[in-house]
């Protein structure tokens, strides 16, 4: 049984699984049920000025019969009075003293507003604060959320104001709706953030109804861009986490968010530098109970690897995430088809033929049966065939012994230097 406890910038929780600030953390009732189910922490749905919401507000992307591969919303921060939320946070913390409760905050970019709300939430016993500089819709039009979050100086400024009064760790939640997330991450760090969390949702339009021509979702016939999340955004989130994790100036813990649904996603985010993760869409899809397998699976994984504490995996893959110019130009893999496993759907053939380098031949053996073979000399090792192959083990990407490694950067350096052998 591995130790699953984490400590993120001083915030302790019994496991790395937190609920992200979102509909599942809207009330004491929900957060308490979540803790009972096993969640280690919860970021309370963003507190701020009570706001008005619209109907409807959610939409989802279903793909090839799989429901909710992507999800979006045009819901705003909490629409419950601050006093009610504070009372419920207090009660919940009292019932679950060992679980992490973090208050997500969003106010106007004014110093006294930040000071006021920070004091009020810290009074009820939260373990930390998360500044919401991320929501792309609704609040942004009032200068909040991603309207602030897209400006590194505004992020820095407001983080600084919070840090002036905060007694608990401050996490800054970043928006992905920006060209280079490390700019705003640096702003947060320079403002004194104790940690960053990412990503918030991505600007999106889920769809258009083919019959009514309304947007999906629509509010009385009109739509607005929403915040995109769910499994489909995981690669984007993981990249942003990795970019922050490997950046030398961003030396604070990271709380990973974005499409995390299973213990496997969690391990990936933690290997790429996250100290823990926050989950929302998967819970909205399946309920709080999914955490049972997340805990169990993570624990079994760590035991199997002989790792005693989950914190030992944090950042282990960061150094492997590099720049294109550092990749070895001489490294080579080729596809090899295992005809004992291949079911002859020929998807690899047509993918290679139409979209890659035309190196998979359909041949006929002595018994008149069709089989597939890769002309390895012509294979560029692009992986496309193994990606489209529907059968496990039918196509292996085989490493080919190669010359001395040389990256683009090394090559450029070698060209610049005068050759020793030249006369």
């Amino acid at each position: 049984m591995a130790d699953l406890r984490i400590n993120l910038a001083g915030i302790e929780s019994p496991n790395p699984f937190w609920l992200a600030s979102a509909p599942p953390t809207n009330s004491g009732y929900q957060v308490q049920r979540a803790f009972e189910a096993g969640w280690g922490g919860a970021v309370w749905k963003t507190l701020g000025e009570p706001i008005l919401n619209v109907s409807s507000r959610f939409a989802a992307l279903h793909y090839n019969g799989q429901r909710v591969v992507g999800f979006n919303n045009i819901e705003l921060i909490t629409d419950r009075p601050l006093e009610v939320n504070l009372k419920e946070i207090y009660e919940t913390k009292k019932k679950f003293p060992n679980h992490a409760i973090i208050a997500s905050l969003m106010v106007e970019p004014k110093r006294e507003k930040w000071h006021e709300i920070v004091k009020r939430v810290e009074d009820v016993g939260v373990d930390g604060l998360e500044l919401n500089f991320g929501c792309p819709h609704g609040m942004a039009e009032r200068g909040m959320g991603s309207a602030s979050g897209q400006h590194p100086d505004l992020v820095e400024q407001q983080t600084y104001w919070v840090k002036e009064v905060a007694q608990t760790p401050v996490i800054v939640k970043l928006t992905p709706n920006i060209t280079d997330i490390t700019h705003t991450a640096r702003g947060a760090v320079q403002g004194g953030a104790d940690a960053i969390s990412l990503i918030n949702t991505i600007n999106s339009l889920m769809g258009v109804d083919l019959d009514t021509w309304h947007t999906i979702p629509h509010v009385a016939g009109k739509g607005a861009h929403g915040g995109y999340c769910g499994p489909a955004v995981k690669p984007i989130a993981l990249n942003m986490v990795a970019e922050c994790a490997r950046h030398p100036e961003i030396n604070v813990p990271i709380s990973g968010i974005g499409g995390i649904s299973t213990w496997k996603d969690t391990v990936e985010f933690m290997l790429m530098g996250a100290t823990g993760v926050q989950v929302c869409t998967a819970v909205m899809h399946h309920g709080f109970s999914i955490v049972e397998d997340m805990i169990d699976g993570l624990n079994n994984y760590l035991d199997e690897k002989g790792i005693t504490s989950v914190q030992d995996i944090i950042g282990q893959s960061v150094a492997k995430y590099s720049n294109w110019g550092d990749l070895d130009l001489n490294y080579r893999v080729v596809a090899r088809i295992n005809n004992d496993v291949c079911i002859n759907c020929n998807k690899c053939h047509i993918a290679c033929e139409d979209a890659s380098h035309q190196c998979i031949d359909i041949l006929t053996n002595v018994n008149g049966e069709k089989y597939l073979e890769v002309r390895e000399d012509d294979c560029v090792g692009c992986n496309l065939c193994s990606i489209v192959c529907p059968v496990e083990g039918a196509i292996d990407m085989i490493e080919i012994p190669s010359e001395t490694p040389m990256s683009w950067n090394e090559r450029q350096a070698a060209i610049k230097e005068p050759s020793c052998s030249s006369s």
Partner: protein, 461 residues
């Protein structure tokens, strides 16, 4: 759907409901889930395994994408009787048998998906094709079964003026009259007939060639003729008692269940069916559904040699049909009123293989026994319309018309042939889907013969 037990208490409503289609078809959700399982193989083996070459991955992907009209069109384009075939094809031996997922997980339910798409087209009353620009040539098609309809559909799209001569009251042939309602309701076949009619094809029903119109008239009035006359009734057993009341021809018997009010005279009775092909199975399962108390199939060989499809065999067993192998009837015994009372049989054993490659059954001397039966249904094959073939002056081999296998042209260049009339030893297989393909090929053969165009490039949408 479960059938009512064969007890004496069975009501007329029970009998009626016993003939409702057994397979309820896929729900929308089932169809879409199943469609999403398809790998969309390149050079897919299922296409090659389909005698009509339906682009199966294409029609399945269209179901997945919600393009139902497109899906139905892909099916019906390749197979003008694709709605019937979705129900009657031995899919596990054809498309589904070839599916690459057979070993990886389980094959795609291609037949059920095909039915889902064609049912959609039927329900939405979609006309999927239109007639081509008239090309000035006329074709007479003798026989409105699957082969004739298929030829007519393609010829109409190529711009021919087509007339079908059909002896029965309705077109559709085997699909309309010969396949039990609980597997293929008549309205499916009639929808396919209607699709052909809507292309301007004239169907003269109740018109028997050689009686209501002469062969010469047809040969004179049309540029080309397609002979698609299928096969006739079950031949005689050649044993004593065949003329007794209670002896039926299986084909006629099945036809009656599709065209006449269902009878209650089988309730509680004992039925013996002679033969073990698909028609025998149909006759047996119909008997069960009509309320027969005991239905036995008698076959002179063993389960290994029978010609019924495996799924038909399983279906019959589930209906409670008993099989008695290595048994041959030798005499039907009647009572004083001339009604069937008993069937005398003899036991057989298998000897050397015969011309069909199957081991020849040999009677075991002195093994005769008598069964108490009320009904005997003969299902030992089908006769051929040799007289009509000869009236057209065509070369044939025991009623199997000789053709150029590529063009389906007969010994008379003006006459093409398709369907069961060209099915015989070493020539094709008697399936609805094969007949449909032959009809199509005959149409292309004609087009090539008259205009030198070999393929279907000039087909109308």
């Amino acid at each position: 759907m479960s059938i009512k037990p064969n007890t004496i208490s069975i009501s007329a409503e029970d009998i009626q409901s016993n003939f409702n289609e057994v397979n309820p078809g896929l729900t929308k959700k089932e169809a879409i889930e199943e469609a999403h399982r398809c790998l969309y193989c390149y050079d897919a083996p299922c296409i090659k395994a389909c005698p009509t070459g339906i682009n199966i991955p294409s029609f399945i992907k269209k179901i997945a994408s919600g393009n139902m009209k497109g899906s139905a069109r892909v099916i019906m384009e390749a197979n003008p009787v694709g709605a019937s075939c979705a129900r009657v094809c031995p899919t596990e031996e054809l498309c589904e048998g070839a599916c690459v997922l057979n070993n990886a997980s389980k094959p795609i339910m291609i037949g059920d998906l095909q039915r889902y798409a064609t049912d959609w087209a039927m329900k939405n009353q979609e006309l999927l094709f239109k007639a081509g620009e008239p090309n000035g040539k006329s074709v007479a098609i003798v026989g409105g079964g699957p082969a004739g309809l298929s030829a007519a559909r393609e010829l109409a799209r190529l711009g021919y003026k087509v007339t079908i001569f059909e002896a029965k009251d309705k077109a559709g042939g085997l699909d309309t009259y010969g396949i039990v309602s609980f597997r293929l309701p008549q309205e499916i076949s009639l929808w396919e007939v209607e699709q052909v009619e809507k292309l301007g094809v004239e169907i003269r029903t109740n018109c028997q060639v050689g009686k209501d119109i002469s062969v010469n008239e047809i040969m004179d009035q049309y540029d080309v003729v397609v002979l698609a006359i299928g096969m006739g009734n079950v031949p005689m057993l050649g044993i004593e008692g065949e003329d007794l009341d209670g002896v039926y021809d299986a084909i006629q018997f099945v036809e009656d269940t599709k065209t006449k009010p269902l009878t209650d005279r089988f309730v509680g009775s004992r039925v013996a069916v002679i033969g073990a092909g698909n028609t025998a199975i149909d006759a047996a399962t119909c008997s069960v559904r009509l309320g027969a108390e005991n239905v036995t199939i008698l076959y002179r060989r063993t389960a290994k040699e029978m010609t019924a499809y495996q799924f038909e065999y399983e279906f019959a067993k589930q209906d409670g049909v008993e099989f008695r192998w290595l048994t041959q009837p030798v005499r039907i015994i009647g009572d004083e009123q001339g009604k069937v009372k008993q069937l005398e049989c003899i036991r057989m054993e298998l000897g050397e293989p015969d011309a069909s490659g199957r081991r020849r059954p040999i009677p075991i001397e002195g093994s005769e026994f008598v069964m108490e039966v009320d009904t005997v249904i003969k299902a030992i094959g089908q006769t051929r319309y040799v007289d009509l073939i000869e009236a057209f002056g065509l070369e044939h081999d025991n009623g199997v018309v000789k053709i150029n296998e590529e063009t389906l042209q007969t010994s008379n260049p003006k006459v093409f042939a398709a369907g069961d009339v060209i099915f015989g030893d070493n020539q094709g297989e008697a399936m609805v889907v094969s007949a449909a393909e032959q009809g199509k090929q005959a149409a292309y053969g004609i087009h090539h013969y008259l205009f030198g165009r070999k393929n279907e490039s000039s087909l109308a949408g």
